[in-house]
């Protein structure tokens, strides 16, 4: 069913890639301006009737009185909403070709068919994992490092990879065997020892007390754990139940590393504990988890989870029920309607600003790329969507999508939705 011929669609998309695209000549910068829209910056409020000026692949300026350099390509977006491209904190099957390898950088396919539909849905960045069957998981260490943040830069391999690895998959701490849990804790402990040894080595060296030719200790297979302890990368743990979340928090509190809890369904029963551990969550407001009728504490999923976590100060990203692009006809449950899933969090009592953040800046934080994407700010990547209405409205469609300053989707020139109002 997925083996769809996208040739016709591709023609429509390629037809627009020329519009506003820049020649990558460093000597001659190119400018694009989105003029007159209501700019939802996410981090700095809504700017009505403002202009967003893009220089090459970055946002140069946002404001009402922006001087446009000569030769600026202009888009009148009056009456539209201009927002940061949406960030998918979890996906499957996006952007990777058939040739999977140890490194995602080697497996990227900028012409992969579903990228076009992702762009038409306003998604500009996504978390991807390779070999979801565990092909490359380093079982002895209980971790998987084949993860990356990529951009939906259709047709452009340059600028597609944002970071790799993007996270350490530590789900086996929760779902794995006792032996795996032992391995994980041992690895953390050894990584701590390594960091101490390294500190010791460096301080002795600085004090001139090191032996001649003394080499610094090597992290070897513990490298990812060292990065975790240093806060350079986040661990991802799938924790749908309260039990799983408690298990995750125990490890986080023991070793104090940056962590993301995925697929949380009962986190609303323990918001304070999560807040104290200072970890981020990824959730789907409509995801259902049955109540544990044998339990004497609150259990099961709640549509109010997002609002409850917000009140406790827990930050979270929202992902859809199906973290992929589904073209089979089932509507409103996959990546194509990511903002609508965030709207379901509003149904549960969440404020709209946090809901929008959950698919932009907080999702970028979850992926460790918030310095580049997730909000509209001068200096950040020009990943921008122009919408024909309120981002959280069920009717809103994407009119234009820019990635790295390039216009890669124009609804009026692509076949997908040009027939809709």
């Amino acid at each position: 069913m997925k083996a769809i011929n996208y040739q016709l669609a591709a023609i429509g998309i390629l037809a627009v890639t020329g519009v506003g695209a820049q020649e990558s000549s460093p000597a001659k910068p190119s400018y694009v301006a989105l003029i007159g829209g209501d700019v939802e910056t996410v981090t700095d409020g809504l700017r009505r009737g403002a202009t967003v000026l893009i220089k090459d692949d970055k946002i140069l300026e946002i404001g009402r009185d922006v001087d446009l350099p000569e030769g600026t390509v202009r888009y009148d977006v009056t009456g539209k909403i201009v927002a940061p491209g949406f960030v998918a904190a979890e996906t499957r099957g996006l952007g990777l070709g058939r040739a999977r390898s140890q490194k995602i950088a080697d497996a990227l396919d900028p012409y992969q068919d579903t990228i076009q539909l992702a762009l038409a849905s306003g998604i500009t960045s996504a978390y991807v994992e390779s070999g979801s069957g565990g092909t490359f998981e380093d079982r002895t260490e209980g971790v998987s490092a084949t993860s990356a943040v990529i951009k939906m830069s259709y047709g452009n391999l340059d600028g597609m990879l944002v970071r790799e690895p993007a996270a350490v998959n530590l789900s086996s701490w929760i779902s794995g065997t006792a032996a795996q849990r032992y391995q994980i804790r041992e690895s953390f402990r050894k990584a701590q020892e390594f960091i101490e040894k390294l500190k010791d080595h460096e301080s002795r060296k600085a004090a001139g007390k090191a032996r001649p030719n003394e080499q610094p200790p090597k992290a070897d297979a513990l490298e990812l754990y060292v990065q975790l302890l240093r806060g350079e990368i986040a661990a991802r743990m799938r924790a749908p139940t309260a039990d799983a979340t408690f298990a995750a928090l125990a490890l986080i509190n023991e070793f104090r590393f940056k962590a993301v809890l995925l697929d949380v369904c009962e986190a609303w029963t323990m918001p304070e504990e999560i807040s104290r551990a200072d970890c981020l969550c990824v959730m789907t407001p409509r995801r259902k988890w049955p109540q544990d009728k044998a339990s004497n504490r609150p259990s099961g999923s709640s549509i109010e989870q997002a609002a409850i976590l917000r009140r406790a100060g827990v930050r979270f990203a929202v992902v859809p029920l199906a973290a992929w692009i589904d073209t089979g006809g089932i509507a409103g449950r996959d990546l194509q309607t990511l903002p609508i899933e965030a709207a379901f969090a509003v149904r549960g009592g969440l404020d709209e600003r946090t809901a929008l953040a959950s698919i932009t800046i907080t999702a970028a934080e979850v992926l460790g790329v918030s310095h580049r994407v997730g909000s509209l700010e001068a200096g950040k990547d020009a990943d921008i969507v122009v919408l024909n209405g309120d981002p959280l409205d069920y009717r809103t469609l994407v009119d234009l999508t820019f990635v790295n300053g390039r216009l890669l989707y124009d609804r009026s020139k692509s076949p997908f939705y040009d027939h809709l109002k």
């Binding site: 669609a9 009592g349 959280l392 009717r395 997908f416």
Partner: protein, 423 residues
């Protein structure tokens, strides 16, 4: 960004049930309940579809009056439901539901056609899926067998709450006969009914037998003959089809099979029928359904996207049927394919793909009621109809709003002010 609803979010009980019981006497007249709300969406077959500042009067199981507050006098002894920031709508109705029972007991695939089977005994009134359905505003479902065989049995038209036993939940039995044409019932084995040829032959055999059976019994019952026909248990329920008491609902899709279904059940056998699913390009013959006045029940898929067939476009299927002139349009979830509580969300998505919002609301209220021949009782807020009523925080198509209160047959079955909110 603005809310359509001005209601309070975040758990403060906004709904005040105020019993004005002072001096009330118990008489033989039933209690009157009055709902005062911001807006009523009536989904009436004809007449005004919305009323601002409305009042609904309910007596016992039935709706007594619906209209603007200024036109309706609330009796002094009525129980008043203050819902100033709420919308009131008829309970939502889904004609393609499989979640009334255990989910495991709706596909007995013994014979190619099974008119002797019914979903009735499999209903589980304490079912978690039904509890979620109510929280999504779904008050009535046609709980039908699966599509494992060509004719998989009889479905039950049932409420989603308000009864402890199967009998208390039943709106009408049989609700409809379930037939499956196209794909699912095609069997891997080499027996009869492995392909469309065999299936069509066996369906016609059965319909011919049932028709003759009904005629023989009708002749006996009306005194045209004293010769009592033999009882044939497997055909008993099929008599109601020929007497137009309930319809046949047909799982079908793709232009060829939608057309073939209309020809067999409507043109040849003149049975009341519902074309269910209708996806995978079925819209291409929607004009033929319009010509015949046949109801289409679209879902769970709501769009067609096949590059070579649909020109690379994401076509909203309900929109395509509507554009072809199909006025009798309803939407389904095929629950559990789409969870039962998301029936209204199906309407939202149909609007996203171009359907008019009011048509979308009607497609989950009055149109399914008409299609299943129960519109004399259900599907709209009109005097004389059953009091199956929802209160929502605003336009239910906007997913930011939710259902706060549900009444079935005059009885409150869900109230977020008094119990844990489910959806």
């Amino acid at each position: 960004m603005k809310h359509l609803a001005s209601g309070i979010r975040g758990g403060v009980p906004a709904l005040l049930l105020l019993a004005v019981a002072a001096g009330r006497q118990e008489t033989n007249t039933e209690e009157i309940i009055a709902i005062r709300c911001e807006k009523i969406v009536t989904a009436a077959i004809e007449g005004p579809q919305t009323i601002q500042n409305g009042v609904i009067l309910i007596r016992g199981r039935k709706i007594l009056k619906v209209g603007p507050a200024r036109d309706i006098e609330i009796p002094g002894d009525a129980t008043i439901v203050e819902a100033a920031h709420r919308w009131a709508l008829p309970g939502f109705i889904d004609l393609h539901c499989h979640i009334g029972g255990s989910m495991r007991d709706i596909n007995d695939m013994v014979h190619p056609a099974n008119p002797e089977l019914t979903t009735r005994p499999t209903i589980d009134p304490d079912n978690e899926y039904l509890k979620m359905a109510v929280a999504g505003g779904v008050t009535t479902v046609l709980y039908i067998p699966g599509s494992g065989t060509n004719l998989s049995g009889f479905g039950t038209l049932m409420h989603t709450a308000g009864g402890k036993t199967i009998d208390e939940l039943i709106v009408r039995f049989p609700g409809a006969m379930k037939v499956a044409q196209a794909w699912n019932p095609e069997r891997g084995g080499g027996d009869l009914g492995a392909s469309r040829m065999g299936m069509w032959w066996s369906l016609r055999q059965l319909l011919d037998r049932a028709k003759a059976y009904d005629e023989a019994w009708t002749a006996y019952e009306t005194g045209q003959t004293r010769l009592k026909p033999d009882r044939k248990g497997d055909l008993d329920h099929m008599r109601g089809l020929f007497q137009r008491k309930y319809p046949v609902i047909i799982h079908t899709a793709d232009p060829r099979d939608v057309m073939g279904t209309a020809r067999m059940f409507h043109d040849e056998y003149r049975l009341p029928c519902i074309i269910s699913h209708g996806e995978f390009g079925g819209y291409k013959v929607a004009g033929e359904l319009a010509k015949r006045g046949l109801p289409a029940n679209i879902g769970p898929r709501l769009y067609d996207f096949r590059i070579l067939v649909d020109e690379g476009k994401v076509y909203g299927i309900p929109t395509k049927y509507r554009e072809a002139g199909v006025e009798r349009l309803s939407l389904n979830t095929d629950a559990p394919v789409i969870p039962q509580e998301d029936l209204c969300f199906q309407a939202s998505m149909a609007v996203r793909f171009g359907l008019d919002p009011l048509d979308a609301i009607r497609a989950i209220t009055i149109e399914p009621a008409r299609a299943v021949l129960i519109d004399d009782r259900l599907g709209s807020l009109e005097p004389g109809k059953d009091a199956d009523i929802l209160l929502t925080t605003g336009n239910p198509l906007d997913v930011r709003n939710h259902v706060t209160w549900v009444m079935i047959g005059g009885k409150v079955v869900y109230d977020t002010a008094k119990e844990r909110r489910r959806y």
